[in-house]
Symmetry: C2
DNA sequence: ATATTACACTGTACAGTGTAGTTTAATTAT
DNA sequence: ATAATTAAACTACACTGTACAGTGTAATAT
């Protein structure tokens, strides 16, 4: 005899899960991991604490889910292909703008801040998470190689050139935005232009 | 009649205070503000918890003292003067190295990490603290103006040029060191050279 | 039948205090 | 100079109150 078990279609709990995640994001962003209590998260999500624990085993677990969600979003950016016809400046600016995607919206910027505070104090965890994500540098390195093959750029080491570019973007824009909660982005245009122009001064051919 | 009170010279408690501060630094660096307990700090400092509270009113207070100590140290760097005879590259490298002072020693780097985690989650506090400290940019801006007056550099906006330089240094070196706990500093030399060279490509005359 | 809620409850960790006794060092007496 | 005196600094330890992670359960909503 087969072990026939009456099974019933489970209800869709996706919505509640999402509500909890959004609440968790709000609270984590507001106060950081340690200060955020599960009671507060439940309250902000508009859900009983027990329901939070029915969806997520533990606070650690909920945090991981928040991180994974964020990384999934981040990975959905489409790569930028090298174009022979468009100007270098225009294309470089696109790479820079793509990097700013993480900080130009209050929630994504909040998460970036929050994760910065976590990663900087837990190097191992930060390394682990960064290992799960494909770095935007890869795509840029391909672009740089194409530009060199096309005779528009000239460099000794692609790695070094890529580090200079992302250093410029992050150092001049990303981190300032994180520490000013986005206020510095009001003046981003001149910096963006200057930074691209600096890169081209160094590596552009004539 | 004067209210003559037999007063006794107070004992020097500077040493204990210092021991407590050092213990607090160790513990804060290790775990961040919220996770660090006053019991743990007392234990690491080798001092009774009551003594900690005899020196510092509260945990918040102790934290402030740690921050002030760190800022005092940071302020003691001597300014770099413009020289007509030394090469631009050499002098720029000195500015970059001065910036790396904050992260080239494990304890200072630990404190930089710790403060980054605090400031990024409490913008107002970060602003307040940064307002108390004279920025190294000021000194660099003077240098840039001297170099322009000397006909060696050429730029539209000093502010922008300074932002590019510190963006390069922080983006390429400082933050990577923070997130890798200094591991990235092993390869700092080529980056330092490249970054200075990039800056000179953009703003150098001929 | 499954998901959710309200609510009470456990255990733990921790900031901060109170106190009584001990150590240390500046002052005073020898 | 040396020893006794004394107040300041320190320690051990018990204690208060609070906040919070996580659980158990019975009732309710879907």
């Amino acid at each position: 005899m087969t072990n026939q078990v009456k099974t019933r279609k489970k209800r869709d709990t996706h919505e509640k899960r999402q509500v909890i995640l959004e609440g968790a994001v709000k609270v984590f962003i507001e106060s950081g991991y340690d200060v955020s209590s599960m009671d507060k998260i439940a309250e902000v999500a508009g859900v009983s604490k027990r329901t939070v624990y029915n969806h997520f085993q533990s606070k650690e677990n909920l945090f991981q889910a928040v991180v994974n969600d964020f990384l999934k979003q981040r990975d959905q950016q489409k790569p930028i292909e090298y174009s022979k016809t468009r100007s270098l400046e225009e294309q470089l600016k696109e790479f820079a703008e793509a990097e700013l995607y993480l900080i130009d919206d209050p929630i994504r910027r909040g998460l970036s801040k929050f994760l910065t505070s976590v990663f900087v104090m837990d190097i191992e965890f930060g390394k682990k998470v960064r290992g799960q994500v494909k770095s935007p540098h890869e795509s840029f390195i391909n672009w740089l190689n194409s530009a060199q093959a096309d005779g528009k750029l000239q460099f000794q080491s692609v790695q070094l050139a890529a580090q200079i570019f992302y250093g410029l973007v992050e150092g001049c824009l990303t981190y300032n935005a994180l520490f000013s909660d986005g206020a510095s982005l009001k003046f981003k245009e001149p910096i963006l232009t200057e930074l691209v122009s600096t890169f081209v001064s160094r590596y552009g051919v004539e």
